[in-house]
Symmetry: D3
Subunit: 124 residues, 6 copies
C-alpha cells in the first residue's frame, strides 16, 4: 500500500481541488457527472457503488477500488456482500486482478477499523 | 450487429459444448465457477448480473454484454435500471464504450420484443 | 469490414437518437460533453480529432477509429499526417493494434473515394 | 465468425501490402520487428507463437488469435497443448475472454480441416 | 520499486491467507485453479510460467510480472530466454509496456542476486 | 507520487541503459523506433508528444504520462493546451483515468517549478 486511507483521502481532495481550479469548464462538468452517477435513482446508491467497485476491479485501478470500498462501507455493504462482488470481478477479470484484490482486502480491513466519521469521503 | 439473439444463443451453446467436450478439466472447472458466480447469495442474482453487465461494458465485450442483458431482463431489470447501469459504465469507461452502448441498446430492444421463452439462455 | 461508411453513419445516428430518446439525463449530458471535447479551443479541432484517433487506435475500438478518420479527413488531415499518427499509435500500443490499423487504412481509402458531402458525420 | 480462414488470410495480406506501400519507413520497420520476434532463438518459434497466442487471448484480439492459431498449428502444437495454453489465458484473463475462446476453438477446428498448404500464412 | 522481493513475498502470502480465510468458497476455488494452471502437463511448467509472464507484461501488472519472473527463474529460464520473451511482450504490447519492462529487469537482477532458497515462492 | 521528477529521470535512464546493455538486438531496435516516432515530420514533435500523452492517459500508465508531460512542457505546451488534452483523454477514457489525471497535474506542477535544464529528459 502506498499510504493510509487518511493520506489517500487528503491527497485526493487536494488534487481534485487543483484540477477544478484550473478553469477547464468541461473537466468540471465531467467531475459533476461522475458525482451524480452514484446518486439514488432507479438503482440505489449502494448498488451503484457496488457496480463501480467491480468495474474498478476488472479495470484494475487501485485508487478507484479504494474510493468505492469506502463508499460501499458507508452504504452498509457487509463483508459477505463485498466478497461476492469481489468474486464476480475475479471471475470476469481473471487472476490478473488478484494483486488488486489483495490491496482491496487490505483497504477493507483498514476501513472496518476506523471510526466511521474518519472514513467519510466527500462525494465527487 | 453480427446476428440475431437467437443465432447468438445457438452459436454460444454449440461452441461452449465443444470447449467442454475437449476434455481439459481445468477449463471445465472455470466454466463451472463462472456459472456459479451469478447464483443468489449475499447478493441477489439480479444484482450480480448487473455487476457483470457493467463490467462487460467497461471491458467492451459485445458478446458478454449481450449475454448479461438477456439475463438481466430475465431477472426483471427495468429500462430505467438498465440505463442507470449503462450510465455508470459510460462514466467509468468513457466515450470509448459508446459503440458498445449502441449495440447494447439494440440488443435490449431485440430482447424486449421476443416472447420470454425464446430469450431464455441456459446458464453457464 | 462489417459495412460501408454510409451504413456505419446511418446506424450510428439511428442508435444515438434512441439512446438520447431514452430519457436518461446524465447520458444525454455525457454525449454533449463528448461532442464539445472536439471543438476549437486552445487546441484546434483538427489536433483534438488526431488525439482521439490515436487514443481510439491504442484502445482498439474500430467504430471510434472510423468516426475519427472521417472527422480528421474533414479537418484536412493529409495521408502523411495520418500515417505518422498511426505510427505513434502502433509504437505505443504494439502489434496488437495492427488488425485495427488494417481496418483504419481500409476506412481511410473508402473515405478518400467518397465525394465530401457524403462523408459528413453529424458531430456528437 | 466474420469469414473463412482463407478470406482472413487474403484480406490480411492485401491490407498489409497497402500499409507497407504507403511509404512510412517507421511503420515498415515495426512490421519487420514484428516478423522477427517469432524467429527461432534462445526460445523456439513454436514457443514464441504460443506466447503470442496467449497474449492475444488475454488482450482479446480475434484476428491476432486467428493468426497465431494458424502459426502454432504449422509449428506442430497439439490439441492438448492448445487447450492448456487456452486455460492459462482463461485463468489470467478471466471469463471476459470466453467469447474469444469460443472463436479460437472454431478457428482451430477450421484449421485442422484444411489441407496444410492452404493454411500457410506468410510471416509478417 | 515499491519494496524488496522479500517484502513482496511476505505481503503476498499474508494477504492471500486473509482472502482464503474470508470463507468465500468460489474465491478459494479460483485460487486453486490459478495454482494448478501452471503445473506440468502437455506443456511444461517452465513454458506455462513464460506464457503467464508475457501475458502479465502485455496486461501491465507489476506484481504478476514479479511473481512469474521468480517462478521462471526457479524453472531455469536463462537471461537470453527472458529477454526474448520480454521482446515478444514489447512488440505485442507496445512502448506502453516499457515502464513495466524496466521494473521487470530490476526484479530479474534482484532475483539473480539472491541465494536460491530465499527466492522460493510458495505456488498459488 | 512514488518519487520526484529527478528520481524518475535517473531511474528511467539507469534501467534503459541496462535493458539496452543486455544485448537483445530487437529490443534495441524497438527502443530506437520509439525514440524516432516523436521526431518532427508531417506532424510536429509537439503534436506527437500530445498524441502520446493522451494515449498514455487513456491507457493509464503513470510513468508514460510523466515522461510525455515533461516532453510536452519542453515543446512549449501551455497549461490551457494541457487541460484540453487532458479533457479529451478524460472523456474518451472515463472516470477510471481520474487518479492518473490527479498525478498528471501534480507532475505538471512539479515540472513548471523546476528550472528548465533540470527537467530535460534524454529522448528515447
Amino acid at each position: 500500500m502506498s499510504g493510509s486511507l487518511e493520506e489517500f483521502r487528503k491527497n485526493r481532495e487536494r488534487m481534485n481541488e487543483k484540477i477544478l481550479a484550473a478553469g477547464n469548464l468541461q473537466i468540471q462538468r465531467f467531475f459533476n457527472l461522475d458525482t451524480r452517477a452514484y446518486e439514488d435513482g432507479a438503482l440505489s446508491a449502494k448498488l451503484k457503488e457496488l457496480l463501480s467497485l467491480v468495474a474498478s476491479l476488472v479495470l484494475r485501478c487501485d485508487d478507484c477500488i479504494t474510493y468505492h470500498i469506502v463508499r460501499c462501507a458507508e452504504e452498509g455493504v457487509t463483508d459477505a456482500e463485498f466478497f461476492e462482488a469481489f468474486n464476480v470481478g475475479l471471475v470476469v477479470g481473471g487472476s490478473i486482478t488478484i494483486p488488486h484484490l489483495r490491496r482491496a482486502v487490505e483497504r477493507l480491513e483498514e476501513c472496518r477499523k476506523l471510526p466511521e466519521p474518519n472514513t467519510k469521503l466527500g462525494k465527487g
